[in-house]
């Protein structure tokens, strides 16, 4: 609101000056150099390129009206994403826990380390296709990417810095002043603008080039643009989709849902006494133990698995879902019980079915995404 007023005044000033100069054609006024002059930068609108399968969908892209994608905003967001001055001792950046080579995740680490080497308490999530999501973090504590980006800077287990300090550090760097002015002309450098830029960059992180993407896009009539699934991966998808074997689809979708999640919050039965999860946000007892259903993309880059990183391998994950689910976990999703059949018996997967299923899950990994130079500093 304050920004808006300031902006309006500046716009009025610009109009006033231009109206004046327009009348005095004979005597052009030389611009006087100053540090706080309003600038006439206009950010360039950016049009996001989507993979064929994605572009066929009318699933809405979550781009806030007050933060449209711009070339300059995305570039600034990328610079900030790799900026260690966001942390208290200039030691870590967003990319420290969200490494592009690992699908923007901290591979091999259950709990990432904060600015002073202290471990966190929840597994860093990978970052891709977030433009389709409307709740963020494992417990849904953020309603937008802008809101999410506010959190790690001041978090006592993460960057431990104040937003005031971050703003001051960046305001003191003329190269940043220039970049901010290009992306958000005549706006103060503060947490609002910094998180807007970060969110813009994150919205460009689109991952959609895998064997299943290529194969399923062909089913929609798109030309085949890359390798499709192997026989093993295809068998694995059958296990995935079969309600009497994997029954993965109730939570993770299938060939028609390229997000490989419905973005719901569920308790999958990990523990007899589960972590609070969504209930930490909603304060509702029926939300205890519910965590965001993660996408299944890029799993080969994002181990360990689950919100607390308890499973090191996909084999462990599959074994959990076949025989390790705790049916008495409070608020467990009834969808966990389809595979038990009418008689209540556990349906085990054969070792062949397990290895096929894992082959399929790994096939949802996108090498182009993790090597994309556009996402690197």
């Amino acid at each position: 609101m304050k920004h808006l007023k300031k902006y309006q005044i500046i716009v009025l000033l610009i109009f006033g000056v231009s109206a004046f100069t327009a009348c005095s054609d004979d005597d052009p006024i030389e611009p006087i150099p100053c540090s706080n002059c309003p600038t006439n930068n206009t950010p360039t609108p950016y049009s996001l390129k989507l993979p064929p399968l994605f572009s066929s969908s009318t699933t809405p892209l979550n781009i806030p009206a007050d933060n449209p994608l711009t070339v300059e905003g995305i570039a600034l967001g990328k610079r900030l994403f790799y900026e260690k001055r966001l942390s208290i001792n200039n030691s870590i950046s967003c990319s420290s826990c969200h490494n592009p080579a690992n699908s923007f995740n901290d591979k091999g680490v259950a709990f990432s380390l904060g600015a002073q080497g202290q471990p966190g308490i929840i597994n860093a999530m990978p970052l891709f296709n977030l433009i389709y999501a409307d709740k963020f973090n494992w417990n849904g504590s953020a309603n937008s990417l802008e809101e999410q980006a506010l959190m790690p800077v001041a978090h006592p287990l993460e960057m431990m810095e104040t937003w005031k300090n971050v703003a001051q550090k960046l305001q003191g760097d003329p190269t940043y002043v220039k970049d901010f002015d290009k992306a958000f002309p005549n706006e103060p450098i503060d947490s609002v603008i910094i998180t807007k830029a970060l969110a813009q960059f994150e919205r460009t992180l689109i991952s959609g080039n895998t064997h299943p993407d290529n194969e399923f896009a062909a089913d929609f009539g798109f030309p085949v643009t890359g390798a499709i699934m192997t026989a093993e991966e295809r068998r694995g998808f059958e296990v995935f989709d079969d309600p009497e074997r994997g029954d993965c689809g109730h939570c993770h979708g299938g060939k028609f849902n390229f997000n490989w999640t419905d973005y719901s919050f569920r308790n999958n039965g990990l523990d007899a006494i589960p972590d609070s999860g969504l209930a930490a946000v909603t304060k509702q007892p029926y939300d205890i133990g519910k965590f965001k259903v993660p996408s299944l993309r890029n799993l080969i880059y994002t181990s360990p698995y689950m919100h607390d990183g308890r499973f090191a391998t996909l084999e462990e994950v599959i074994n959990f879902y076949t025989t390790g689910v705790n049916p008495n976990s409070p608020n467990i999703s009834p969808d966990m019980f389809h595979r038990t059949g009418a008689n209540g018996h556990i349906i085990n997967l054969t070792s062949q079915e397990k290895s096929d299923l894992i082959a399929f899950l790994k096939a949802l990994s996108d090498e182009e995404f993790v090597t994309n130079p556009a996402f690197r500093p």
Binding site: S56, Y132, Y286
Partner: protein, 265 residues
């Protein structure tokens, strides 16, 4: 129903041309004066017997016909081809589906663009789920994003309903049920067949008159009716895991025909 999806594609491809030609049509083909029409809104209301349905209750406030007590943690369902039948035989069909998620009140109300002519109507019919033509794999992006698809090996298409909760079983323990409905797969000695499992119902006592004001049609679903009339449903037998069970799927088809009542408001 499917035509609306197709026409959306056509509009996307030929938007400018379509709008141009529609102007021409107006000029060249004057339309005969239409009967005055009104806007209708469709609203869904949820009950279990005489009780207003609530989600995630800690107790089990509802009782099915067999006396089994239960609560509800999820209810999503899909209704299509809602059609208003005029006394003169004309039909007004809303060319859209209504996908209701009981956890999201914003999905309870729909405002179809099609106007309803004033006059006397003998009744209202609907399809629960999608008929065979509309139940086509993957063609509805919003339903895809909601994981509403029905598995390919059970015949594909979409779910028609997901009704989930907990009941007290025959050993007095809490157990889950997940009444998911869609295409019924039948496997017997002659092989595998996929039986369309939607049903079309002309709702009893649904006659009404449209005057010169806009109006609302309130559909009320009584979820207990899934579990009785004519056959009492036993959660101990059909709890979760009923999607591949042909008899369970067909029983929902039989029992479901009286789940909705409707009234004009």
């Amino acid at each position: 129903m499917k035509t609306i999806f197709k026409s959306m594609l056509i509009i996307a491809a030929f938007g400018a041309v379509t709008s141009l030609s529609s102007c021409d049509d107006e000029d060249e083909d004057p339309i005969t004066p239409a009967t005055p029409s009104q806007s209708a809104s469709i609203r869904f209301n949820h009950m279990s017997g005489n009780d207003t349905l609530m989600l995630n209750t800690t107790n089990k406030p509802y009782t099915n016909a067999l006396g089994q007590v239960y609560n509800v943690s999820k209810l999503r369902y899909l209704v299509s081809n809602v059609t208003l039948h005029q006394l003169n035989g004309e039909e007004i069909e809303f060319d859209e589906y209504f996908f209701v998620d009981f956890s999201k009140p914003e999905t309870f109300t729909f405002n179809p663009s099609k106007l309803v002519p004033q006059g006397v109507y003998s009744g209202i019919s609907y399809t629960f789920g999608f008929n065979e033509e509309d139940n086509t794999d993957g063609i509805y992006p919003d339903l895809n994003a909601a994981n509403w698809n029905w598995p390919g090996m059970l015949g594909g298409g979409y779910h028609f309903m997901q009704l989930e909760g907990e009941f007290v079983d025959s050993t007095n323990s809490d157990r889950f049920f997940a009444t998911h409905m869609g295409t019924a797969r039948k496997i017997d000695s002659s092989g595998t067949a996929y039986v369309a499992n939607h049903f079309d119902v002309l709702i009893p006592n649904s006659s009404f008159t449209v005057g010169n004001v806009d109006f609302e049609l309130e559909f009320t679903i009584d979820i207990n009716e899934w579990y009785t009339n004519p056959v009492n449903w036993d959660f101990n037998v059909y709890g979760p895991g009923i999607m591949p069970i042909y008899d369970a799927q067909r029983l929902l088809n039989t029992n479901g025909r009286d789940v909705f009542t409707v009234r004009k408001k």
